[in-house]
């Protein structure tokens, strides 16, 4: 059950939600709302943006300023909102396909621009809503409806992508560590600059059925058994790290934030 102070943030009239029973997205929704409440954010100052997919239906359930945009484009919409009104707290919730396939260009440029937006990427390694097609994070060998003989293309490491593209804060956790998810989301929201929290979750319906993890509990156990902290991963060989999920904070740096830079530019131009 959600905490009492979370309830005003939920549009409960739309429950039951569209997610399958046992879906991990609810854990992430809860972590986001707990973070916002604990940081003292108001619903009026908060914007939740999304694109298309199961995870992108999340804003509909959040009682704030919410915008459900086109597939992959939410960060570009969020950029316009944030630049127009830098006072707003802007959170962009995305799935792995939305963020790294169709939205890959917007993702790397939001990182590069270092605009003060928090991106929460719910990575379940599959296109769930459309019926289980392979995504850019589907592991090599995993089966999907469009990879019936197993995926052959190398998946993205979303955190390394964000780091390389210039994000100010980058972290990864799984839904099997909800407290850690919350801790990272809070830091990401507080960070001045572009932040990425990748949360590994599962789609037992579309990914699990084809890949021997057909029920939610199997997936949670899998995440618990295969998560390794960043420090431990450093001591492991590439071979040992295969199939493991490295969790932790990968980037926490200060950089010139875009809206601040633009407001300074205005000051300079206007003298």
């Amino acid at each position: 059950m959600p905490r009492e102070e979370i309830k005003p943030w939920l549009r409960t009239r739309f429950f039951p939600h569209i997610w399958c029973p046992g879906c991990g997205h609810g854990i992430i929704l809860h972590a986001i709302l707990r973070s916002l409440v604990d940081l003292g954010k108001t619903r009026e100052e908060t914007v939740i943006a999304s694109g298309i997919g199961c995870s992108s239906r999340m804003p509909g359930y959040i009682n704030a300023n919410t915008v459900h945009t086109t597939h992959g484009r939410s960060l570009a919409f969020a950029t316009g909102i944030k630049l127009a009104n830098p006072e707003l707290t802007v959170i962009d919730v995305m799935g792995d396909g939305d963020c790294t396939a169709i939205g890959g260009n917007h993702f790397i440029h939001a990182c590069r621009r270092n605009i003060d937006i928090t991106a929460i990427v719910m990575n379940n390694n599959i296109y769930g809503m459309t019926g289980g097609q392979a995504s850019p994070t589907t592991p090599v060998g995993a089966r999907a409806t469009t990879a019936p003989y197993g995926a052959i293309d190398t998946p993205f490491d979303i955190c390394r992508l964000a780091e390389g593209a210039g994000a100010s804060y980058v972290a990864r956790a799984t839904i099997a560590q909800p407290a850690l998810c919350e801790q990272y989301i809070k830091k990401a929201i507080q960070k001045k600059g572009f932040s990425v929290v990748e949360i590994i979750t599962h789609c037992h319906t579309q990914f699990g059925r084809k890949n021997k993890r057909p029920n939610p509990v199997d997936n949670l156990i899998f995440f618990k058994e295969n998560s390794i902290p960043k420090a431990k991963a450093k001591e492991m060989t590439e071979e040992e790290k295969k199939g493991k999920i490295v969790i932790g904070e990968f980037v926490d740096r200060e950089g010139l934030e875009y809206t601040e830079a633009y407001l300074k530019l205005i000051e300079r131009v206007r003298g």
Binding site: R11, E44, E45, A76, L83, R270
Partner: protein, 378 residues
């Protein structure tokens, strides 16, 4: 009062017209032959506390523009052929979610990369039907640099009034030519701002339209009203619906809000049409050649007139029927293989012979060429 004069390029006039209309946000991406609009905005907007952003692609350009409008700004983007194609999906979102923005398309030759530096009028049907799904369309076609300025103001006013995207379909010739512009004094032309909610945030129903005009008042993110924006078909509360009654209500209103006020939106221009036996119908840069051809033909004693749709959409069909009067022959010169001619045929097909005159080699139709067609059919 002394008139303020300028000698501007069409693209510059569009940027300055936008600013005069209250545009304070521009999201864009470089593309020939529209880039000057972005360049002028990059220079001018910071001076007036506005915001310019060069996005990573055309899709991002319109997305950021829509985002800024949701946050309360009058916002605009500009592009040309291929970029206009790329913007179509998000243009649809702006129609569906009823977000006012202005989109400029400086037409060049297509399809595909086509002719980046050469003129065409090949996007006029894309303006109407480019994004998937039904919607009302408002699109202007300027024929002079003065009109680039004035019609961009009109475009913003209509976008704000009807809560939807409005298009300015310029072309490479109009965009790049320089002419004298008489800049009207601020306050001497109407400026329309979107209707704001009159109820408290708790009573606010984001898509509950005012029956008087079918347009719902719009709140901005950050001003205390919490609401949901989605490209999914939604009910009055702004939330996705699969209820046939709610779907039909929303869908029909999107079309009706423009159709109802069609007479107030439509703009056109007439030249010596009263007793015309031949009528020339053209728009944009071609109309400049056509008007001259008509005047020269008149001097030769040919009873010919000119009708210029200024709004391509809604197409001024009633006005065209009226203007055509007893004309038995109607010439439609266009820089495409025949696009607006379909609308002319729908309006006049039974009453007159409709004669196409098309040029698709990257050149503009010249006055003597149109004059030759007039003389041929006279």
């Amino acid at each position: 009062m002394p008139r303020k004069l300028a000698f501007w390029q069409g693209n510059m006039a569009i940027a300055m017209g936008g600013i005069a209309a209250g545009c304070r946000f521009f999201g864009g991406y470089p593309i020939t032959p529209s880039s000057e609009i972005a360049e002028v905005m990059a220079e001018e907007l910071p001076k007036i506390n506005g915001r310019f952003i060069q996005m990573e692609d055309e899709i991002g350009g319109i997305a950021a523009t829509i985002g800024a409008s949701i946050a309360g700004y009058k916002a605009m983007t500009a592009t040309s052929g291929p970029g206009f194609s790329l913007k179509q999906e998000n243009l649809g979102l702006a129609y569906m979610a009823e977000i006012p923005i202005v989109v400029i398309d400086v037409m060049r030759g297509g399809p595909s990369t086509g002719l980046p530096t050469r003129v065409s009028q090949q996007d006029v049907m894309q303006a109407r039907w480019g994004t998937h799904g039904d919607h009302g369309t408002i699109a202007y076609a300027p024929s002079s640099v003065q009109e680039c300025f004035e019609l961009t103001i009109d475009a913003f006013n209509m976008a704000e009034r009807f809560r939807q995207p409005v298009l300015v379909m310029s072309d490479e010739v109009i965009g790049h030519m320089r002419e004298k512009v008489v800049i009207p004094e601020p306050g001497s032309y109407p400026i329309v701002d979107r209707k704001r909610p009159k109820v408290s945030p708790d009573e606010f129903v984001p898509y509950l339209a005012d029956p008087a005009d079918d347009v719902p008042p719009m709140a901005s993110f950050g001003d205390g009203y919490r609401w949901h924006v989605t490209g999914l078909t939604h009910n009055d509360y702004g939330f996705p619906t699969n209820e046939p009654e709610e779907i039909g209500k929303k869908h029909l209103r999107l079309v009706r809000k423009v159709e109802r006020f069609r007479d107030e939106i439509v703009k056109y221009d007439l030249e010596q049409a009263e007793d015309a036996e031949i009528l020339v119908v053209s728009y944009g840069c071609v109309a400049r050649s056509a008007v001259r051809a008509v005047r020269e033909a008149r001097a030769k004693g040919i009873r010919v007139g000119h009708f210029r749709p200024i709004t391509l959409w809604p197409f001024p069909d009633k006005e065209l029927i009226q203007a055509a009067g007893q004309a038995k022959k109607v010439i439609v010169p266009e820089l495409n293989c025949g696009q607006m001619i379909s609308e002319v045929k729908i309006a006049l097909g039974c009453k007159a012979e409709i004669i196409p005159s098309n040029l698709v080699n990257g050149e503009i139709l010249r006055p003597h060429e149109i004059l030759a067609t007039i003389e041929e059919v006279a």
